[in-house]
Subunit: 144 residues, 2 copies
Amino acid sequence: MEEFQIHQRLLDDCHRLGRLPICHVLLHRNAALPWFILVPETMATDLLDLSAGPRDRVMAEAAAVSAFVKDDLGYPKVNFGAIGNLVPQLHLHVIGRRPEDACWPAPVWGHLEATSAYDEQALNRMIGRLETACGLAVVKDDTG
Amino acid sequence: MEEFQIHQRLLDDCHRLGRLPICHVLLHRNAALPWFILVPETMATDLLDLSAGPRDRVMAEAAAVSAFVKDDLGYPKVNFGAIGNLVPQLHLHVIGRRPEDACWPAPVWGHLEATSAYDEQALNRMIGRLETACGLAVVKDDTG
């Protein structure tokens, strides 16, 4: 079977952290907010086009990442979205939000102007915490 | 049991079309795009905080509306989001999109400048089609 390829634009915008049973877990390079992007291994392009079984399993993985954002990272609110107007490959945004964050109350898309970056130590710490909290499997070929 | 109240801001922004088993179905008054807002009867404020059973049922209703947007209204793409930074009551956006629509490829939130309105005939037609396609139950106390 041909290996699943993550869209280049997502790889450009994100760090690749690892994977859950169905979804690859990416972290947006902009560290102004904890902005996770989940890429399920599917050819469907819209979340709501998935049939019930895969949809429910994908949502369970998104919920696990959301719980991590709230319980481990301490964010009171999570924004969730599946848009894909620019990148057609199905991907889900799971974003920690709090009042007075870098673009509160606007959604991040097209509104987040602040920029910040993760250093290697912060990335490794995030991966370690996701391994513990969500069972993240680290991807060996992470290109940073 | 106290009757579930839809947040006033959602009622101000939307026409109330009816309900599905779990979600109230609203239609944003801006007719530039088919922009449905589903309000599940729950006290949870974030979609991903719902436990698996309710979450899966809510997503099934969102998927039914999405299929309606694609199959009946002829939109090739659906944007889905649960944000709630301004209105804390849980509500899900299901929005029909197509290249060259009023704000393509931007997401609608904070980017949709075009405005248009539904007349009563268009609203009634939409309600009728949703009754047929999704089993929408019309709400008697619709205030328009």
